[in-house]
């Protein structure tokens, strides 16, 4: 056991434990293998909230029937480069991997492809699908809606989702992946800061008196997290929900919030096959020149480092693959009991 009540678990061990639990809960072998691999990869990459920390709730949702472990997505409508699929309430990870694969296949055929997916479930870490598409050589733009957890700008009751948006491009043998929710901080991140009695680095929401605050506990109490860019992120959240619901024909945030649990989401997956572009042989150079210029930024302070979206993930991955994944000991014990 390590300091701070964490245990380091090697990736192979974690994946084997996850897979055995999924098999015990009736998952087919291939599906158990894929879900275990993704929950482990998210943890290896340092995205614990959508990796190991979330695994027990995933099992709970299977047990309660919110997620149908056996369901697979089915085609609803096709029109050239855009297709509408029904996720049939299957596991969000499996549906999203499948949808990303269809979007890239459509891009292969039509240059640009779009899959709109209804009745799916939490895809955990959106960046997973950005990496999937970008490492296969595609540009990716995708997003999901969520339940309501953020007020409109100027309001105090939650009617907007945090609707994570993912944009990814191939970069060397890896990918540049932006994976950002529309709230400045997730409730998960604020709960972590509250437990550690730490202040947020910037304003994260309003307190119950309606004042902007960096106190995570005050924001958890008021239920008024801040949209990124104030009115701007609130507007972007609304539009992403509108697009997800329109394009998929599935549920919008206002409908998801009335369900017992966050289930039945709508998602969009857009891929572009950059090998089909007239400048395809120049693209690696274009990206490298942009990143090189970006990295020449003058740090504002001695402690500041300039990183591109996804760069820190690679550092976490290297460290966690070598040393094991740091897991809160209580969470790991809870997972072991699911075996």
């Amino acid at each position: 056991m390590q300091q701070n009540g964490t245990t380091n678990i090697m990736a192979d061990t974690m994946k084997a434990v996850f897979k055995s639990i999924l098999l015990k809960h009736g998952f087919e072998n291939d599906k158990a293998e894929t879900c275990a691999a993704i929950f482990t990869a998210n943890s290896v990459d340092g995205i614990y909230t959508h990796g190991v920390n979330r695994f027990p709730r995933f099992i709970e949702y299977i047990q309660k029937g919110y997620v149908d472990k056996d369901a697979i997505l089915s085609l609803q409508n096709k029109c050239g480069g855009i297709q509408q699929w029904n996720g049939n309430m299957g596991p969000g990870i499996l549906n999203a991997i499948h949808a990303t694969g269809i979007a890239t296949a459509l891009a292969n055929e039509f240059g640009i492809g779009c899959v709109a997916l209804s009745n799916t479930n939490h895809w955990m870490r959106g960046g997973t699908y950005g990496w999937q598409a970008a490492k296969a050589g595609y540009v990716f733009i995708g997003w999901t809606n969520t339940t309501a957890l953020m007020p409109a700008w100027g309001a105090k009751d939650a009617r907007l989702g945090n609707n994570p948006l993912v944009i990814a491009i191939p970069y060397k043998d890896e990918a540049i992946v932006l994976d950002m929710a529309m709230s400045q901080y997730s409730f998960g991140a604020m709960e972590q800061s509250a437990i550690k009695q730490e202040s947020l680095s910037v304003f994260g929401g309003f307190d119950t008196a309606g004042e902007l605050t960096k106190d995570p506990s005050a924001i958890i109490q008021s239920k008024r997290p801040l949209p990124i860019g104030y009115w701007k992120g609130a507007g972007l959240s609304l539009l992403l929900d509108l697009l997800a619901a329109i394009l998929s024909g599935g549920l919008a945030t206002h409908q998801i919030k009335n369900k017992k649990a966050e289930a039945g989401l709508s998602q969009v997956f857009i891929a572009i096959d950059i090998s089909k572009l007239g400048n395809s042989s120049a693209i690696a150079g274009i990206i490298e020149n942009i990143i090189n210029d970006y990295k020449q930024s003058v740090p504002a302070g001695e402690k500041d480092t300039i990183t591109w979206p996804g760069e820190r993930v690679l550092a976490a991955r290297e460290k966690n693959l070598a040393n094991g994944i740091p897991v809160v000991t209580g969470i790991w014990q809870q997972i072991l009991q699911l075996q």
Copy 2:
């Protein structure tokens, strides 16, 4: 003349003045008509910074040869639903209208269409093309890169553009249009606040000491405007520039900043033909239900009103069409002298 040194100009008068100036500067009749109409419409809609206030600089850029008034865009590469076009340094408004039309035509054929445009110029108000596509019945996602005017997160020298992103959907006979730059405030908006000696409503950037501030003059001095959502908007700005440059084969922000003036931009126009979707007859209802729920938000304070992106534009439009467009008198006199 009105109070605050403004003059109200009726839309027809403004458009006629703009057109006469464009004709005098050698524009073909159709192009003069379109540019005059867009500069006027942007002003009618209350977007003065990209309407009447910007018109003199547009003429200056024509005179200096940064913008080629006679150039039209040409096809570089086509692959199914995605096409790459060269703007040949023509007027940004004309190129963007044309590109939006091509994107919607591609969407008509392939369900989803994408035009990537290189070597174009400032499109003025990005929302123009969102309204164009949405009023024709299409969903629209588009963005432009710009010159460098915002530092990376953790940096103090400007290497990122504010890269406005536009998302639009049809709504009743109008459109819901999000048109947002990646900086919390534009320099134009901060200059206006500085002149009026007004504080910004939220943090707009850093002062020269590296502290967050609402003082527009301090931010103009430090040249460190704040990205929306801090590190998140900085990351989104980088990705939008990467995508614009990759997809179009045109210039990236780091190259634009080395030019004498902001010219030779890269832009992306994506359209989706929602009439081709399996749920097309239900879409108007989906949108209305989302907006109805959104509008039921409980205002945080007595002065708060909950509006969807584009709603305030409609109010400004109605007022300005009825009463005339309020123009700073000095700017209008400057424009009249261009005739």
